[in-house]
Subunit: 533 residues, 2 copies
């Protein structure tokens, strides 16, 4: 039993070191057959080993050249092992893999040692398709133009290849030593990566070209890694629930737990999953823009100089502003001059304004409390968060009433989605043991602030767990483990996708959630009422 | 049970007709997933259906265009079904396959209806590589030159593609409707077809690049059939025992019989297999050239105008010459003017000369019996078989003493090989229930004549069964049946290959067999002694 379980947990991409007996008159097995036999024996596997014609063409001379001592990299698929490549056993280089989080805004590429499972390096970069269109709909539209799809795919692959080159050069390894890759992205990004037409994704009845795509050889995509390396693409549930979220569920481990968890990923959309090892229900809805910082005038993506923490002294109403210095050092309030505010900063700010009585339960500025921080610009009331003198831009950073209204709509949408999906499966929030928060947003958010504004349920703070980039993490797990790879597809098949109907019930819930924290105060027993009530 | 057996006997290339439900808001399965699901259901198979990226790219538009009614062709490999292509269900065209006998001299291409298993058409043509070298060693040598291998492969593929085009045009079918191909050739030809370097095949320790090659997609070889069609290449046992013979064993059925059979294929080499469903032993040796007609001055390949039957009146010593008019009509003596003699004609001629007392038991011309047919040319005695007036070439067709000596060496080699392999497995010729003769040579040979000259054992004539082109036949069977395809690889693994050691024992056997029919007359009790003894 332990042996079997060990076997099951070993990777689906493996490398074996072979010391083959050279051929002789007594042992005149053909070169490829000799290699296949050696691999099979070394793997202790009954499954066939398949060799591609392009590899077969070079095996004879390589075996001779390397004196029949070779490293052979293989991957498992459909009851057989497939040779990726062979290399000189004396060259000493390891074998590696890449996990790619294929975001519509940001891509993150992680280099993994497939021998040890260790993460070696990581790089994150903008999606070059932003040049065509920041939002995904523009890109889908562009893809329908003559040559548009291949242009979008080409710029993506080229950019990824540049990063692969830089990453491998930095680590002093050959690109050809990268023997596998796994990719997790939303449904549209997955289509654009594969050169599949995303046309149907955004049009009724919202049909992707494919949800479950099998392994693809890297050479079919023109990736600058070993041409025989398999590329695993995380499957989609449908047009609005992509492989990034499936990978996220895998990374959270909620699909293996008996207790019920929530997983929330707030990007452009808010995607929510609830369930355990027996069932999973998912839904997605527009809740994101304000939370991502995209709506507020001073809003921006998390990055250096961006406000991510705000504390307002309830007595003096003095603001203490924390900015991001580096993604690794966000635990303290920084002295960095602020240039804007990210989603988590905005939530902090709103929560603090509410606690300090500077906004009321409808989110409206309370003039008496705001004092001279309140100014009128373009016919709208603005709150000066950072003065022109203190800011890093030379201009005052302000928050408008419109910004707050947008945030309230977003937080209300989020809470309504959470309520709706919990109601659908007849689960009360109190039954939820873990509330996983994924994404960059999730790694900065202060759950207490999110509870204060009524965006997430008023649960004990330890319920909330920030997981970071679960898409990348899940892709890495699926690249490394046979069971994890299978789990990706099991999760996909297990999910029930809930179409959110914006019906009267939803609108009633939404309206009730448009207050801070909520019209039903009993839902937020720990949230004190600010002066503004 | 009967159902299971039926299932097992169904083909590994199949086509299913699908009438898919169009997508809707209630059923928003992705297009490719919808197709895969439909195929799986239609096949009644639990195995996955895999779709290539290049196919995935066109599926959405094709499904829409064809109103979700499509024919899908798939093949089975490694526990999964793989989509070859889809077509409009309304176009009414069938789906087809090609079996190819990849001879070093002649190629034969057979068009097969994969729906019914029926043979539709066939074409045979010269191997274009003859231009580089008639013998295989010249080609192997040429392949080591810069660009030589790809030139040899290219000319072969081009020629095959021309024939595919002609065959499909003649039958009024699309090339893209050819959904599979199987190929059987000797080890070198298989290498040249696949673009694999044959260098090691003819050099100690005689190592091919590959013996068991998996399925290859036709587009990897540039074949002018459906690009997604699988190409099955019959496996080789080794350098001197190729896929043509494995296919031949399959075609003979000897691997499924309890009684012991011989299978002999005489081409450039003589290849011999003995065995039954429990064991198979094979060997190959140089015995062919004289038998193929390649050695005799008047010798040539079987073809129109070529002598394949000779009867000599034992009293008048008058010659009655039969020539080949058409491969389908060789049962009578023809009036066609002779232009040469093929291997089977040569055996007939030698047997008749012996029976008529015109050659003695050492194969030497008996002057008294030959009379004025015997002439001296270039210092050698020649027998005029056809006078210049009667021949189709304008010159007399003659048989020299050297030709007969060559034939005797060949027939002695053949008999020695048969004796050696039978001795090795401790089987006497009398225990052999069937003696299958394969190849073009085999379809013309008169077993009685071959027995008279002592080339094959003196067994009842009904023991000898001519099978024709077993390489082509076996390739066709393996293309059609899942079990036959598997059997090809089982046969390959089951065979024990006997290296013929030309040792003292072999030489003794060979010397004893260099008489007509043999020094040990008791081995040939039915052969009467001619006047020449």
């Amino acid at each position: 039993m332990p042996k079997k379980s060990q076997e099951k947990n070993r990777g689906w991409i493996r490398r074996v070191s072979l010391h083959l007996a050279p051929p002789s008159l007594r042992d005149n097995t053909a070169d490829v057959d000799r290699l296949m036999k050696g691999i099979k024996k070394s793997l202790g596997s009954a499954a066939d080993v398949c060799v591609d014609l392009s590899l077969a063409r070079k095996i004879s001379s390589s075996l001779k050249q390397w004196n029949y001592r070779v490293n052979a990299s293989v991957y498992h698929a459909h009851d057989a092992w497939h040779l990726i490549d062979i290399s000189d056993a004396r060259d000493g280089e390891g074998f590696f893999g890449l996990a790619l989080d294929l975001g519509s805004t940001t891509l993150v590429l992680r280099l993994i040692d497939l021998e040890t499972g260790k993460y070696i390096d990581e790089t994150s970069f903008h999606n070059p398709q932003i040049e065509i269109g920041a939002d995904i709909l523009t890109r889908i539209h562009f893809a329908t133009r003559e040559g548009g799809l291949s242009q979008l795919q080409g710029m993506l692959i080229d950019r990824i290849n540049e990063e692969i080159k830089a990453l491998t050069q930095k680590q002093g390894i050959r690109q050809a030593s990268i023997m596998g890759m796994s990719v997790a992205g939303n449904t549209t990004m997955t289509h654009l990566f594969l050169g599949l037409n995303p046309y149907g994704i955004c049009r009724e009845p919202y049909i992707p070209v494919v949800n479950r795509i099998g392994l693809i050889l890297s050479r079919e995509l023109g990736l600058a890694i070993n041409p025989g390396a398999p590329v695993l693409v995380a499957p989609n549930v449908g047009s609005y629930f992509g492989g990034d979220l499936i990978a996220g569920i895998l990374a959270s481990g909620m699909n293996r737990q008996s207790e019920i968890s929530f997983l929330v990923d707030v990007g452009t959309n808010a995607e929510v999953v609830i369930g355990n090892r027996e069932w999973l229900m998912a839904c997605a809805g527009a809740a994101g823009p304000a939370l991502e910082g995209g709506v507020a005038d001073m809003g921006m993506m998390a990055g250096p100089g961006v406000i991510d923490r705000v504390v307002i002294d309830p007595v003096t109403r003095e603001f203490r502003i924390g900015t991001i210095q580096d993604p690794g050092h966000t635990d303290g309030l920084q002295d960095e001059r602020p240039v804007g505010i990210c989603g988590s900063g905005l939530i902090d700010l709103a929560a603090q304004l509410f606690v300090a009585g500077m906004i009321d339960l409808r989110g409206k500025f309370v003039e008496a409390a705001c004092g001279d921080r309140l100014v009128e610009m373009d016919g709208t009331r603005h709150l000066v968060v950072v003065s022109a003198e203190a800011s890093g831009t030379g201009h005052a950073l302000t928050l408008s009433q419109t910004d707050i209204d947008g945030l309230i709509r977003s937080k209300a949408a989020m809470y309504t989605i959470l309520t709706t999906i919990a109601n659908t499966v007849n689960i009360s929030f109190r039954e939820v043991a873990k509330f996983y928060v994924a994404g960059t947003f999730g790694s900065y958010i202060d759950p207490r602030s999110a509870i204060i504004i009524g965006m997430i349920p008023d649960l004990p703070l330890e319920t909330y767990i920030s997981l970071g980039n679960t898409s990348l993490e899940g892709a890495g797990l699926a690249l490394l483990g046979t069971e994890a790879r299978e789990a990706l597809f099991q999760i996909r098949d297990q999910i029930t996708y809930l179409e959110l109907n914006v019906n009267q019930e939803f609108m009633n819930l939404f309206s009730a959630a448009k207050f801070i924290p909520h019209t039903d105060r009993s839902l937020f027993p720990t949230v004190a009422i600010g002066d503004g009530s």
